[in-house]
Amino acid sequence: MSTLAPNFAVKDPKARDAGGGAPPSFGGGGDGNGGGGNGAFNYGERLRRARLGLVLGLTAVIMLFVGFTSALLVRKGLPSFDAQTNTYSRDWVPINLPWVLLFVNTAVLLVSSLTMEFARRAITRKAALAPVKSIPGVSLGDERGFPWLGTTVILGMGFLAGQLLVWRILHEHRFFVNTGPSSSFAYLLFATHAVHLAGGVIALMYAAAASWMLHKPIEAQRIVVDIAAWYWHFMALLWIYIVVLLMIVR
């Protein structure tokens, strides 16, 4: 038998008004055993949810590159018809990539992944200590840490600049996007990765803005940095995959 329950209307905390329309988060989830939050602004749940969303978003990115990879493998094995000689031949000319520069770029990206991880850990620690800091009379000493986030942004931009340099070298060696299938795929994979990484740079800039300009709570900043960090690590992994793929299938 159903029961009739009154509708309570409790004034919402100010923090929730920021979105101008986002409904309250009231827990939930779990398989019927957990769930049922207490109505507070639960950052732990939000972080978990954001991470799940990120994993799913990255799944879509993986499928994009699965599409590219399968196209590459199939295209490499296809014979090409030569209208002049009326014969079939292979038109896959191995591309001469500037490997030294590519390895330097790879190193820059891996170091940026490391600085990103330091940034993530720093803000996690800061968020964990926030309740302690809020106790009157308690000081945590000098809180100015190394600007890991800014360093990561600079390294990320350095990587993108390095990639532009790779493009210029390829142009100088007369490997254009339409020179042959090998160069087409190289440009395609580099460009798609660069677009995704540029998205990561924008996300990091947003994280920095959230920290310095928007005065978001430390927990909210932590979520942005955490998600950006895992995204960044994924971009580094994806880059290694691309480099290895191009080393094997040149």
């Binding site: 159903s2 329950a5 309250p24 019927g32 799913l56 799944t59 499928m63 295209r75 996007v177």
Partner: protein
């Protein structure tokens, strides 16, 4: 007085009170750039409604041209063969992407998935809003193809190269085709945003007690559809990017050595079949993206209006999972004509036939649900039964086409057109209609007119069968697809009367849709006020106010105690027990 109408009570069994949250008051934040999943669901619904009228208008032009090829239509003028192909392309694309993918998932899924699992909104409201507006931009870009030099593309909704990959292959293959591919790419991005939101919401925002096996089958269908979308749209996006590069940067992914209009093009070595593989890896799951939500809503409605629990709930869930899984392994059955190895064809054929097993499980379970039910034939029920009928009629020709030996003679004929229109087009549309009539009271707070609804159903049901059933006979008689003029081909003359019959049937069916639109808008404004639970249904959306408040439950968190289809429970005071009802839940 109609007992379904009236003020009604808000029946809630809740354990917790949370912070009620007033919605935004400004027009822009409330109705345009809203973060509320209900508003976004309605936005998707009206986008799909607009798209379906555009798509239907294009099909009407095609049907008129087929039987009166010389007629001069107002505004459109005389339809040239290439214009016919443009109409065909845009009809298919708009219907598949902006109607069949948009309405069931973006529209009803957005509105009801969070409420049915007891959540206040989607997991990522901003992403949800972005997803809708990105879809809207994709639709505008798609329509823009009509108005650029050369007009809309000719290459069909499947966009096969080399026709689609070389700009000089036809009048619509210039800027029009670029806009078409760009629109699809934008749509892919929007769908991916939507998919990750649906999956996260389902996994992470279920109310206490809402176990996976207590989720309504509608939620399961949206959830599985989202997984299919997440895995399929990324691959289509990759194919679209490669196609754009072939067209605009001179690459040769899909284009071999080719002479167009006497001119040797610069491409060489590409493979049109590569596109087909990538496209159909997306394209076949897309069929299930269109139809799975219809299966979900049909299960929901059959159980509700037969006043019986759904027959074999778990089997229904596993069947949907099976269909989704197998859907990724059968793309090759669209390519039996491509000269593939007979061994590959055999594998694809066998896997395609295997989909018949979960499909049959679903069909028999629907019939089992109806058997000895105390059926209430309201309009949603009529459309749900219509869905089952169309699913069977359209589905049975699937095993025909799954066999390479039969597919090869039938593939480029009207047989295939009849098959996919019945199963993917009309059945899915019936699912959308069923959902509209079923959930309209909750969405708009008023009841739709039953008389008009039933007239709409019967005219549409008979009309669509009259259009698409004869296509199977046309196909068996050897009538090719995509021919714009029948009068020019001698052996088709005997089939013109059948084509004429189908065109008249199309007139009547499209006329019937005016009844639906009038009913929809009239009921929104003047329909009798709906009760909170006008169908005596059991799922969570019927426990909250009509229409639901901004946070869905007026500051309360529902707690789930029962399965979604508890009808005819022995010992219960009524013939149904709601999911939030604690009394019976204790006994389970």
């Amino acid at each position: 007085m109609d007992r379904r109408a009236g003020g009604g009570e808000t029946i809630m069994a809740t354990s917790e009170v949370v912070h009620a949250h007033a919605g935004p008051q400004g027009f822009i934040r409330k109705y345009i750039f809203s973060l509320d999943h209900k508003v976004i669901g309605i936005q998707y619904f009206f986008l799909a409604l607009t798209a379906v009228w555009v798509g239907m208008f294009l099909s009407l032009l095609m049907r008129i041209h087929l039987i009166w090829p010389q007629v001069n239509l107002p505004i459109v003028g005389h339809i040239q063969p290439e214009t016919y192909l443009s109409l065909l392309t845009m009809h298919g694309t708009i219907m598949v992407f902006f109607v069949l993918t948009t309405a069931p998932q973006g529209g009803f899924g957005n509105y009801f998935l969070p409420i049915q699992i007891g959540a206040p909104d989607m997991a990522f409201p901003v992403l949800n809003m972005l997803s809708f507006w990105t879809t809207f931009v994709a639709f505008v870009v798609m329509l823009a193809a009509f108005f650029v030099t050369g007009g809309a593309p000719l290459h069909g909704w499947t966009g096969y190269p080399p026709l689609s990959a070389v700009q000089s292959t036809g009048p619509g293959e210039g800027l029009g085709a670029d806009l078409w591919i760009t629109s699809i790419a934008i749509f892919c991005a929007a769908s991916l945003m939507g998919a990750l939101n649906f999956i996260t919401t389902t996994l992470d925002l279920r109310a206490k007690g809402m176990t996976l096996m207590r989720m309504p089958l509608t939620v399961w269908s949206w959830f599985i559809t989202a997984i299919l979308g997440l895995l399929a749209f990324g691959v289509l996006l990759s194919a679209g990017i490669l196609l754009l590069m072939d067209r605009n940067l001179g690459t040769s992914f899909f284009v071999p050595v080719i002479v167009v209009n006497g001119q040797l093009m610069g491409h060489k070595g590409g493979s049109p079949l590569l596109w087909q593989h990538l496209f159909w890896f997306f394209g076949h799951p897309e069929v299930y993206i269109a139809i799975l939500p219809g299966m979900g809503v049909t299960s929901q409605i059959l159980s509700t209006f037969a006043r019986k629990p759904i027959f074999g709930y778990r089997a229904m869930v596993y069947a949907m999972l099976g269909i989704g899984f197998l859907g990724f392994m059968v793309w090759g059955h669209h390519m039996f004509m491509s000269g593939m190895s007979p061994y590959s064809a055999f594998a694809f054929s066998l896997l395609t036939m295997a989909i018949g097993v979960p499909s049959a499980i679903k069909t028999f379970n629907w019939l089992g649900t109806l058997y000895k039910g105390r059926i209430r034939f309201y309009t949603p029920m009529l459309f749900a039964v219509g869905f089952v009928s169309l699913f069977v009629s359209g589905g049975l020709s699937g095993p025909f086409l799954a066999q390479p030996t039969l597919d090869i003679p039938l593939h480029d004929t009207y047989f295939v057109v009849g098959h996919f229109h019945l199963i993917m087009g009309v059945a899915a549309i019936f699912g959308i209609f069923a959902a509209t009539y079923y959930w309209f009271p909750k969405m708009f707070g008023r009841m739709m007119n039953e008389g008009l609804g039933k007239a709409h159903f019967w005219l549409t049901f008979i009309g669509t069968y009259a259009i698409f059933m004869p296509m199977h006979y046309l196909g068996m008689a050897g009538h090719p697809r995509r021919y714009s003029q029948l009068t020019e081909v001698a052996y088709l003359h005997n089939l013109i009367p059948l084509q004429t019959f189908m065109t008249y049937a199309a007139f009547i069916t499209i006329g019937a849709q005016f009844i639906f639109v009038i009913n929809l808008f009239w009921s929104m404004l003047k329909g009798p006020k709906a009760a909170d639970n006008p169908w005596d249904a059991t799922t969570v959306e019927w426990t909250t106010a009509t229409p639901p408040p901004h946070d869905n439950f007026g500051g309360q968190t529902p707690v789930i105690h029962n399965g979604p289809y508890e009808y005819g429970v022995p010992g219960a005071a009524r013939d149904f027990v709601m999911q939030t009802d604690p009394a019976v839940g204790a006994a389970h």
